[in-house]
């Protein structure tokens, strides 16, 4: 492992002169842009965050806010494929355990992928190959990174299937994906991604395709496995309930940028961005008394080709017209600290937002 890191550092030398971070995973000013006929799609436009081992980061946002693009960016899956002549334009820095991934040698990243970082995809049916048995697919993932014979690898696959709670793993290892139910496929996917004990696990909408009872099983499984393996986990979802269940820290994305980041408690109980308020208000909740009405966010998410100038949330923000202290509306708000380990990007004054939250929003939730 140390060898890998060293070689990675050697390749990564021509990177910007910023020092290697102390966090396990650090993303700095990540930008992922896709050139299209209609213009440049700025899917991710300047995203930064850190993640420690053993912690879970929840990334929330609507469709098109850049959640999945971020995860694929970390995995290095944008550059891996060729989009004809149009490749995704990626800039910024992604530091994983002291290695900068974007400037690293693709071969080196390939060695890390699956071993150091693994991913659970949203739709297990399309992520599993229909022609190969579950066992073959897990064995392949294991043998790429470990020099073992097929028998040992298969034993390992059975062990993993057993760990993720698939009944009769020694028989099911020879089943094809179509013979599994949705929940079992997702379990098999999790087994496959964990077979190499990755240090970073990215779960992209891991339960969206599943029923609520199965979702509960999978969430429990992810939580238990994280405790057991101590990996860092990024959970990407649009479901605030899922995030609340799993995440230590939450990052709210809107229009390709982070609008609020903080510990789960801070974001749920002391949110400081109007968009987060909107998300909380538009969600019916089972744990509260029946609300008379939901408080939706008006309008719809911005087009990523033509992101509104200034704050991307500006056209939908109910507080956009409030007077602000000496700021120009056309300037993008930067993340600023609003609490301990809690940042929000909003032009409104800190006190102003505190007042709006406690007086206007919180009582209605």
């Amino acid at each position: 492992m140390t060898e890998l890191s060293k070689s990675g550092a050697a390749v990564g030398e021509p990177t910007p002169a910023s020092p290697a971070p102390t966090s396990f995973l650090e993303v700095r000013d990540l930008k992922v842009h896709f050139p299209t006929d209609d213009g440049l799609v700025k899917s991710v436009d300047g995203l930064s965050f850190q993640l420690e081992k053993g912690k879970t980061l929840g990334i929330v946002g609507e469709s098109g806010s850049g959640k999945s693009v971020t995860s694929l960016g970390i995995m290095g899956l944008h550059t891996a494929g060729q989009y004809g002549k149009r490749k995704a334009q990626i800039s910024g820095e992604i530091w994983l355990d002291g290695t900068e991934l974007l400037s690293a040698d693709p071969d080196h990243v390939r060695k890390l992928r699956g071993r150091e970082m693994a991913m659970i995809f949203q739709d297990p049916l399309s992520a599993l190959h229909p022609y190969y048995t579950i066992g073959q697919q897990i064995v392949e993932a294991y043998r790429i990174h470990h020099d073992v014979d097929k028998k040992t690898a298969k034993r390992r696959a059975v062990e993993m299937l057993d760990r993720v709670g698939i009944p009769q793993p020694d028989k099911r290892v020879d089943s094809y994906p179509h013979e599994f139910s949705g929940g079992m496929r997702q379990r098999a996917m999790i087994a496959m991604s964990l077979v190499n004990n990755p240090e970073l696990l990215i779960a992209d909408e891991p339960t969206t395709a599943l029923d609520v009872t199965v979702q509960a099983q999978i969430l429990d499984l992810i939580r238990d496995l994280q405790k057991e393996f101590g990996s860092a986990v990024i959970v990407i979802t649009h479901d605030l309930g899922v995030v609340a269940e799993l995440a230590d820290d939450i990052l709210v994305m809107y229009g390709g940028r982070c609008v609020e980041r903080g510990s789960a408690e801070e974001v749920f109980y002391e949110p400081r961005h109007p968009y987060t308020w909107g998300l909380l208000g538009s969600m019916p909740r089972l744990d509260r008394d029946q609300q008379e009405r939901l408080i939706p966010v008006k309008g719809s998410p911005p087009s990523l080709i033509n992101i509104p100038s200034g704050c991307a949330f500006n056209p939908r923000c109910p507080y956009a017209d409030l007077p602000k202290d000496n700021v120009t509306r056309t300037v993008r708000p930067e993340l600023s600290e609003v609490g301990s380990r809690h940042w929000a990007a909003c032009h409104l004054g800190k006190e102003q937002r505190e007042r709006i939250w406690t007086e206007e929003i919180a009582p209605k939730l």
């Binding site: 609520v212 009872t213 649009h238 408690e265 538009s282 019916p284």
Partner: protein
């Protein structure tokens, strides 16, 4: 923007939601029965071989009974494959039922042909799940929303175009978008178009199959509110099919829970969410992730169902849920429970219902434990049992018990455990402690009357044993 125009008509948020028992009083005069379904069945044949002989059938909907009264919203929930969408398509007669009867306004429409149904299509409309595939990409919005007029030969006042534009503004779209194509709209806007189309002929019943599940959270709330407003303005009756329990709670007056082609519980909303009686309903509700990080590690509250839903091709004998139920006994394997009214407004098909007073003896013991454990993480079973016994205790009307008992009666037991923390609903809770307990007491009293019926259905009263089993499963 169009949405701003919409916002004007939206009434102000009512503060201090007082929903205790509201479902019973809200529609004080429930309308007459609009839709009546009895023993409805749909079996899809499975054919095999050269001769296409039928080798089996998917029992998608297998004998369900319910009524929809005019002006109300019936929510239908269940896991995928439980037959809820098939049910929606049967009552709108997009599918031909295999058996049973569908009556609309007293008229039997079960086997009406295409032409027989045509006049009724005006009164029964459907909103589809996927706003991307339910709109013809080659037609303009004007054509799509105007199609019902053309098909039914209706000439609205002022012409079709004017009427379509009015409909567009009703659902919060810009009437000037009349000539645009579906691809020019976002998901939420397309769903609004689908709603406008469904409303064109002023229907009496609207069946919405997962109307918001394809939409983002913030847009979802817009559409939910829109459906709400339209119901109030136009007096619509809804059957809303969804898998999201929190959305269903928000929109429905009554809720039917389906499992493998059967209705296992049909109850008024508040009753169902406060004290579900069918174990499946309880498990389903406990599985919903709660957006509250402080309850993150409250894993013990959750009832984890083992395995997956059995195949509807050969559903289990007896109670269909017995393969996954923690209370299942021999009776459940052999006898199919019937849907009986165990409480006013709550029909359940179960041999060993939850929150029922035949569990009283051990609940009394559990109540004391629940009190002691108040600062610890409240276990769902404890709190739920405390709830039932609280109702019993309230009947004896001893003041201190009532206040103490009232807390677990609140929908969520964790809140009770967090009394010390400054939780927002704390004030609301404190303000109305006696109210829910009373309702509960009244219900229990009702339930006593229903008891003989239940005993008959259950045949064997082995509740104590099964209750112990449940506890161990939960831990």
């Amino acid at each position: 923007m169009s949405d701003e125009a919409k916002a004007v008509t939206i009434p102000a948020q009512a503060d201090g939601p007082t929903t205790q028992g509201a479902a019973l009083t809200k529609d004080a005069a429930p309308g007459e029965v609009l839709l009546k379904v009895t023993g409805l069945q749909k079996h899809f044949p499975i054919k095999k071989g050269l001769l296409q002989r039928q080798v089996g059938a998917v029992h998608a909907v297998d004998g369900i009974d319910f009524e929809v009264r005019s002006g109300e919203t019936l929510g239908v929930v269940g896991e995928s494959g439980c037959g809820k969408s098939t049910m929606g398509r049967l009552i709108t007669r997009l599918l031909e039922p295999t058996g049973g009867k569908v009556e609309f306004e007293g008229k039997d429409i079960t086997h009406l042909g295409v032409s027989g149904m045509r006049p009724l299509r005006r009164d029964v409309q459907m909103i589809f799940q996927d706003p991307y595939s339910s709109l013809n990409p080659r037609h303009t919005i004007g054509t799509i929303v105007g199609a019902p007029f053309k098909l039914q030969g209706v000439e609205p006042e002022g012409g079709v175009k004017k009427e379509v534009q009015r409909l567009l503004s009703v659902v919060g779209l810009n009437p000037e978008h009349y000539n645009r194509y579906p691809h020019e709209f976002s998901g939420g806007q397309r769903q609004r178009i689908g709603i406008a189309r469904a409303l064109a002929l002023n229907p009496k019943l609207v069946v919405a199959d997962e109307p918001v599940s394809a939409l983002d959270v913030s847009i979802q709330a817009q559409v939910v509110n829109l459906l709400d407003d339209l119901q109030q303005e136009l007096g619509l009756t809804y059957v809303i099919i969804a898998h999201d329990l929190s959305v269903v709670r928000h929109v429905s007056d009554r809720i039917a829970v389906m499992y493998l082609g059967k209705i296992v519980e049909l109850a008024d909303r508040d009753l169902l969410y406060k004290s579900p009686m069918h174990p499946y309903t309880k498990a389903l509700m406990s599985a919903v992730p709660i957006p509250d990080p402080r309850r993150k590690n409250a894993k013990s509250e959750r009832i984890l169902l083992k395995g997956d839903v059995p195949s509807p091709i050969s559903p289990p004998s007896g109670c269909r849920f017995h393969t996954r139920c923690w209370k299942a006994t021999q009776t459940c394997k052999t006898t199919e429970p019937v849907l009986v009214e165990l409480r006013t407004g709550q029909q359940v098909a179960c041999h060993h219902p939850e929150n029922f007073e035949d569990q009283a003896p051990q609940d009394t013991v559990l109540l004391t434990v629940a009190k002691e454990a108040a600062e610890l993480v409240a276990d769902e079973v404890l709190a739920e049992s405390a709830e039932t016994s609280a109702a019993l205790a309230a009947e004896t009307a001893s003041e201190p018990t009532e206040t103490e008992a009232a807390e677990p009666t609140e929908a969520t037991e964790a809140e009770a455990a967090e009394v010390a923390e400054p939780a927002e609903p704390a004030t609301a809770e404190a303000a109305e402690p006696a109210e829910p307990a009373k309702t509960e007491a009244a219900e229990s009293a009702e339930a006593v009357k229903a008891e003989p019926v239940k005993a008959e259905a259950a045949e064997v009263a082995d509740a104590p044993g099964s209750e112990g089993g449940q506890e161990s499963t939960d831990k």
